[in-house]
Symmetry: C2
Subunit: 107 residues, 2 copies
DNA sequence: TCAATAGTTCGGTATTTACGAACTATTAGT
DNA sequence: ACTAATAGTTCGTAAATACCGAACTATTGA
């Protein structure tokens, strides 16, 4: 796996985060992680989106990592993705809550 | 001018709004409108971005309108753009405040 | 060692974006 | 009314981005 650039907390960029969340698939992934306080591997995250190629999903996770929204740790054969809730909250208080704590229309 | 589709309040889509705000130029425009409780025409909005073509800026405003973040009214030769604060707040409470009320890094 | 699982990378195509140039519309000056 | 100036949009092209399937790497288990 290529060395991922996951930004440090102090280097999080608001427009990168908003852009990452501005895609319906990525939004749904993050919303799921946030609501269920859980971690997911890419395949689990894919189940609601049966028709998405796994290469595409891999790209979505790369965007999420590079924006700083999630961190990954390798566990055996799978990659466990976790939201960086504390990091985001410390840098952008209330942001995640105001974005994710409602039943919004998703395109 | 082509008939713009500005979504009604109940049709606002969170990912469209986040995607619109996920661009540094559009973010700066909205932040300025929000902080100064003002309206802007495209040319005024352009001044911080001297090197952006006006056709590009026109496209940015189209995205902002279609996402529902701003509304436009024609006044003589210019288009006055205003944030739809009440609409956004009623549909997505705290969203604008949590996104725009801080001194964030913009790429 | 072989097969299965998880994910990334690659190559091609398709969609999107940015730009300058040309265009429309409104206003002001004469 | 004619002309020039201002504000914005539209169009055509070039560059960047996104999506897909296929091939690849890495880890686990039989």
């Amino acid at each position: 796996m290529r060395q991922e650039k996951q930004p440090r907390t102090e280097d999080l960029v608001i427009t990168d985060i908003l852009s990452a969340l501005g895609d319906p698939v990525r939004f749904a992934i993050i919303k799921h992680l946030y609501e269920n306080k859980c971690s997911l591997n890419c395949t689990q995250a894919a189940t609601p989106f049966a028709n998405i190629a796994k290469s595409t999903l891999s790209g979505h996770f790369r965007v999420l990592r590079e924006s700083g929204l999630i961190s990954v740790r390798k566990q055996g054969v799978e990659s466990i993705n976790t939201i960086r809730i504390d990091d985001i909250n410390s840098r952008f208080p209330k942001l995640l809550d105001s974005i994710l704590s409602n039943d919004y229309n998703i395109a």
